[in-house]
Amino acid sequence: MSNVLANQERLKIFGLLSPAYLWLTVAIFLPLSAMLYFSFLSDVPFGDAEWTYTANNYRAFFQTSTYATLLWKSLKLGLMVTCISLLVGFPCAYVLAKAIKGRSREALFLLVILPFWSNSLVRIFSWAIVLRGNGVLELGLNAILPFEVDVNLMFTTPAIVIGLVHSYLPYVILTSYLALQAIDDNLIDAARSMGANKLTILWRIILPLSLPGLLAGAVLIFVPVVGSFMEPRILGGRVGTYFGTVIEDQFVAVFNWPLGAALSFILLAVVLLILAVASPVLKRAQT
């Protein structure tokens, strides 16, 4: 009896999961495996190119301090962008989920996601117009403020952070919103009836209950930001060299795919390691 049930369940799991994962396998996992294979070659095996198996591409990471320095710089950038996005986005999601009701909430929710539907390059270039000297920000501030200010953020780390926070903020707003919306308002009322003030409610009830959403948002931000290259390159100028831009160079400018792939897999390994270390800590925080 239970065997039949187990079989049925297995069939169901298979039926629900296999389309998505089959798709991912064909279009992502197998290609990435091929890439992993390439990362151990001396050259991409196209045409008449000669190649041999080698671990040199991975060794390259350790041979100069350049890559490690840049990876560390990228990790710091990822952490900073993630923290800022969480601090900025969570209150937004809270207001959206708890303070605004009905139709206007849906409309606002859509408005948060809509900027995503524009081309990222166009968005980044628009930021450049805002942030550069004599740009929109400076003109705007000088129009409002009674005194003259010089604002030229272009080609600085703050410019990169602004651009990245802008690109990824909707993720954290969205996932936090979904989690917050699921919190029964009665729980908040119940806590108040027991004498809890707003801070206690936030700390003891709302944050723990919305933690899955916050974490999903944090992962969705941290992971791609560490490998980002477009925002740093365009908005960072001279200071915009990061691990992602070096990988991009290997693929776009130099076409040293084996080295680029090796660097990408090192990035992936480090990111997964960080998530693995962080997940039990965060899981404990939830209870």
């Binding site: 196209f46 045409g47 008449d48 190119a49 100069t64 350049t66 320095t69 840049l70 270039f125 450049a128 550069r132 000297g133 004599n134 740009g135 272009m154 080609f155 390159r233 960072g236 100028g237 001279r238 200071v239 915009g240 060299t241 070096v246 160079d249 776009v252 400018a253 130099v254 076409f255 040293n256």
Partner: protein
């Protein structure tokens, strides 16, 4: 009208106005071959239509050729890469008898050793130009004549070079008085670039970047390509292209036909049209690199950028043309450049 007539006669001479083909051209975007009027005139005269695909680096172009056999009929290749493409068997020899305008290309260009890799012409010389620099005329009373302007503290934070390892290294080689194709003192290059870094506001990646930075007043002086400079000047930006006394990097672009092309005849016709003076003069009016065709270059009006600056034999004498770079050197240059960038 005259052009159509010309084209018609060209084709009549070949006597091969065969069935209409669709030829696929692989090139930088906005680099001559994809001009609407040019493609339209070609289609009207020959019956062949033209479809474009673009690349963003030479390496990408080579990869596209490798991974898409049969997809392209004409490809633009920088002479410094022609030997590699030829060695890999990606491009085939040109049938010179099918390209009538080739007779107007001076022998020293047509005989370029890189274009003639493997002992036969593999790239029809099309355009050439310089990688030097341009200055914002509003920031200079007198146009500088030395590359040392990049290291001038007066322009600190208002300088830009392209984010390209080879170009950066060759640029510094010129500044240190070395042969760009045979750099003997790489340490001097590195030191010179390290000294340059604090001067730099940002790197530029594309003509678009360059124009926007200049237009926004972010830059006083930046490396640039001659063809792009002529376009920017034509568009009204207050810039002046400079070929300094220390010299400049020269490059030559050729049009090649992939071995795997199935429409070679139409491809030859298209290349012939591309080096036609008729086409070139009209193109140069909106800003184009210099033509490899002497007759085309001569047909330019006297005030034209390409005639004024690149037509000057004294200038040409200072140019060092790029030769193929070995894989080993390429890696060395990249490491050097990345190390410098990462240190910022």
């Amino acid at each position: 009208m005259k052009k159509q007539f010309l084209m018609a006669t060209t084709i009549a001479v070949f006597g091969t106005a065969a069935a209409a083909d669709e030829i696929r051209v692989l090139n930088w975007q906005g680099y001559g071959t994809d001009l609407d009027w040019a493609v339209g005139a070609f289609a009207q005269a020959s019956g062949h239509t033209v479809v474009h695909e673009y690349f963003n680096s030479e390496q990408e172009m080579l990869t596209k050729l490798r991974t898409n056999p049969g997809a392209y009929d004409v490809v633009l290749i920088n002479a410094a890469f022609t030997p590699q493409a030829q060695e890999e068997g990606l491009i085939g020899p040109i049938d010179v008898t099918l390209i009538e305008n080739l007779s107007d290309v001076p022998p020293d260009i047509a005989g370029n050793p890189d274009l003639n890799a493997g002992g036969a012409l593999h790239g029809v010389p099309w355009t050439w130009g310089l990688t030097s620099f341009a200055v914002n005329t509003g920031e200079f009373d007198q146009t500088p004549d030395s590359i040392e302007v990049f290291w001038d503290k007066a322009h600190e934070g208002k300088v830009s070079i392209r984010d390209d390892a080879l170009e950066a290294v060759q640029f510094a080689a010129i500044a240190t008085g070395q042969d760009i194709n045979n750099i003997s003192d790489l340490d001097a290059v590195q030191a010179k670039l390290a000294e340059l870094m604090p001067q730099i506001k940002t790197y530029w990646g594309s003509e678009n970047d360059w124009n926007q930075f200049m237009a926004a007043g972010d830059l006083d002086v930046a490396t640039f390509w001659s063809g792009s400079a002529s376009r920017s000047m034509a568009a009204g930006l207050p810039v002046q292209f400079v070929v300094p006394k220390e010299g400049a990097i020269g490059w030559l672009d050729g049009l090649s036909i992939p071995t795997s092309s199935t429409k070679k005849e139409a491809a030859h016709q298209f290349i012939d049209w591309m080096i036609d003076p008729e086409f070139y003069v009209k193109w140069a009016a909106d800003g184009a690199p210099a033509s490899a065709n002497a007759k085309a270059a001569a047909a330019l009006p006297d005030e034209a950028f390409n005639k004024r600056i690149l037509g000057d034999p004294e200038v040409v004498a200072r140019v060092q043309f790029q030769r193929p770079v070995s894989e080993e050197n390429r890696k060395k240059y990249l490491e050097l450049w990345q190390g410098l960038k990462a240190a910022q």
